[in-house]
Amino acid sequence: MERMLGYGQAIREALDQALADDPDVIVMGLGVPDPKGVFGSTIGLQERHGVERVFDIPLSENAVTGIALGSATTGLRPVLVHQRVDFALVSFEQIVNQIAKWRFMFDGRLSAPLVIRMVVGRGWGQGPQHSQSLQALFAHVPGLRVIMPTTPSDAKGMLTAAIESDDPVICLEHRWLYNIEDLVPQERYRVPLDRARVVRSGTDVTLVGVSYMTLECLTAAEMLADAGVSAEVVDLRSIRPLDIDTIRESVERTGRLVVVDNAHVVGGVSAEITAAVLERSFASLLASPVRMGFPDHPTPTSPALADGYYPLPEDIAARTAAVVGRPAAFTPAERGERRLDQPDTSYQGPF
């Protein structure tokens, strides 16, 4: 049975079912059992599964990450939750030196089957320390799996697969995706952790979107269609390992590539995609690939500055049209009362 569910509800269902199916699954993190339940994604889980399996933590993300590792390597299946990826940086040593390498450096005698959920902030003045999108940092670390599901149904299915995976999985969830809904199957199901997905077919150019930017790419593709450009849109979903084959297959058909990352361009995932596609499909490329993302400075807080910071559908459409050799200007999509620091008017901060 499928129902419309929000992103947070879909995640909550994945956690609830994992907790019910496997007594070794635990869920922990700051605020996990609190009334807001991490944007709704953990509400009620402690009541249903007990304080030993679903619990709040001290403000000690670094140690708790090591505790997650220690519990994982001895048999539990922990899911650790951070309300912002920015906070998780205090535990970066644990993730990079230990968790990512655990199985390898112990020759497979130990492993680290755990999931770390991290929310990527945006809007309402989250500013320099509450709206970073740091997938590139994790994407450079062998041993990790890194996923960024865009839709509620992928969020549920990928999180389910992540919890069952014997590899450590970093799951990055864009805050604004919590404001969208989708048809989500009720039963437990898995979506592969390493597959991109073509979400719109096209023939002139391949648009690869990362997380929330996939939605902006879809809007841009509609604008482009009106201008006579047929854009294929790929939802990246998996950041490490990258599903280059799906992208390459598309680019070999369209001859053109635009990657729209939800992060800084320089040294970002878009560079890896560009270079990896190039290495495989140099001869198919009709134009230089284009990378879009955030400018090369930290995120400012004022809405006046954030307005120029994030790529908008009309920006994506314009750059893409230029790549295809049919330069055009695009008028911004109608957005009513919504200002650019909100996904919709229901989002009124503060987080």
């Binding site: 609190d34 920015d86 205090v90 003045g125 500013g127 320099p128 807080t301 004022s302 006046a304 503060p350």
Partner: protein, 318 residues
């Protein structure tokens, strides 16, 4: 300063913080201050008391809940509000917002909102003071939640080893967001106890009694200036409003209405007002109201920053 003058100062400082925060709470629903705000209503006394013990040249560092510290230290009100409104005239030019305040000239060095992360910054400022032979005390404000961060412990240890002129001031308001002490810290040890384990001198007191706070801070600052090394102070207090944002949130059920009311009944402003009398309260309130009105006017009427102006100068680029 005689005790009565001190009380008047403390009262004025607390009332100003209260009224500014209430103005923010009133204006916030207009949705023109589009950034998270962590209000200090109910816990004005530690800010006012501690800052009353500071001299020119002393420096303050804080975290996410920093408005009170900024104001008590003498940070520019109009530029703070302009910052909340995201304006070019804000104290960080619209780049930082409510969680990133600074007024270095006033001795408010910096606030940043990653919990624990700004604590060593204060220790580093004290290192500068030592190396340059400057007679300066640096205050680091933190919450009870920050006691759980490793970096707090590393910072205290370093300060003790180097006998640095830094004063850690912990406002224990019993909660970290909605999380009570019981899920975060052991029931049978106090916050000063864990600090004292590091060999730092500690003080603790009623964080709703600004006069007591001021006295303890005075003692600690004096000890620091005499070269006895760093100090750690804990003040028990309570946040009235929600963790972040303008509203009350007792309906959420993470704390009881009774607990809230009992703390509200020990309102730091009323406690001291009762003790002191405070005949000119009304006039003080009027003056503050006028100051706030003008500051809000300034903030609202200031221009927004322009995107391209900042990029090139503030970060290295080739």
């Amino acid at each position: 300063m005689d005790q009565s003058a001190l009380r008047q100062d403390l009262l004025r400082s607390m009332l100003r913080i209260r009224m500014v925060e209430e103005a923010v709470a009133d204006l916030y629903p207009e949705q023109e201050m589009r950034c998270p705000v962590h209000l200090s209503i109910g816990q004005e006394a530690p800010a006012a008391g501690v800052c009353s013990a500071l001299a020119n040249g002393d420096q303050v560092v804080s975290g996410h809940r920093s408005h009170a510290h900024y104001l008590a230290r003498g940070g520019d009100l109009a530029r703070m509000l302009a910052e909340f409104y995201g304006k070019a005239t804000g104290c960080t030019g619209g780049l930082g917002g409510s969680m990133h305040l600074t007024d270095p000239e006033a001795g408010f060095l910096a606030a940043t909102p990653i919990v624990g992360s700004s604590i060593p910054v204060g220790v580093g400022a004290a290192l500068t003071a030592r190396n340059r032979g400057e007679d300066r005390v640096v205050v680091v404000f933190l919450g009870d939640g920050a006691m759980e961060t490793g970096i707090l412990h590393e910072s205290i240890n370093f300060a003790v080893v180097h006998r640095l002129p830094v004063m850690f001031c912990c406002e224990n308001n019993l909660y970290s967001v909605y999380s009570p002490m019981s899920v975060r810290q052991p029931p049978d040890r106090s916050i000063v106890e864990v600090a004292a384990g590091h060999g730092i001198r500690t003080w603790s007191g009623d964080g709703n009694d600004a006069e007591e706070v001021a006295g303890l801070a005075e003692d600690a600052v004096q000890a620091i200036r005499l070269g006895s090394g760093p100090a750690f102070l804990e003040f028990s207090t309570y946040r009235w409003r929600e963790h972040c944002g303008p509203y009350y949130d007792n309906d959420l059920g993470y704390r009881t209405q009774e607990e809230f009311e009992s703390w509200r009944d020990s309102d730091p402003i009323e406690i001291l007002a009762r003790r002191e009398g405070w005949p000119d309260r009304e006039q003080v309130a009027l003056d503050i109201a006028e100051e706030i009105r003008a500051a809000v006017e300034f903030a609202r009427s200031s221009p927004f920053p322009v995107s391209d102006s900042m990029r090139s100068t503030l970060v290295p680029s080739s």
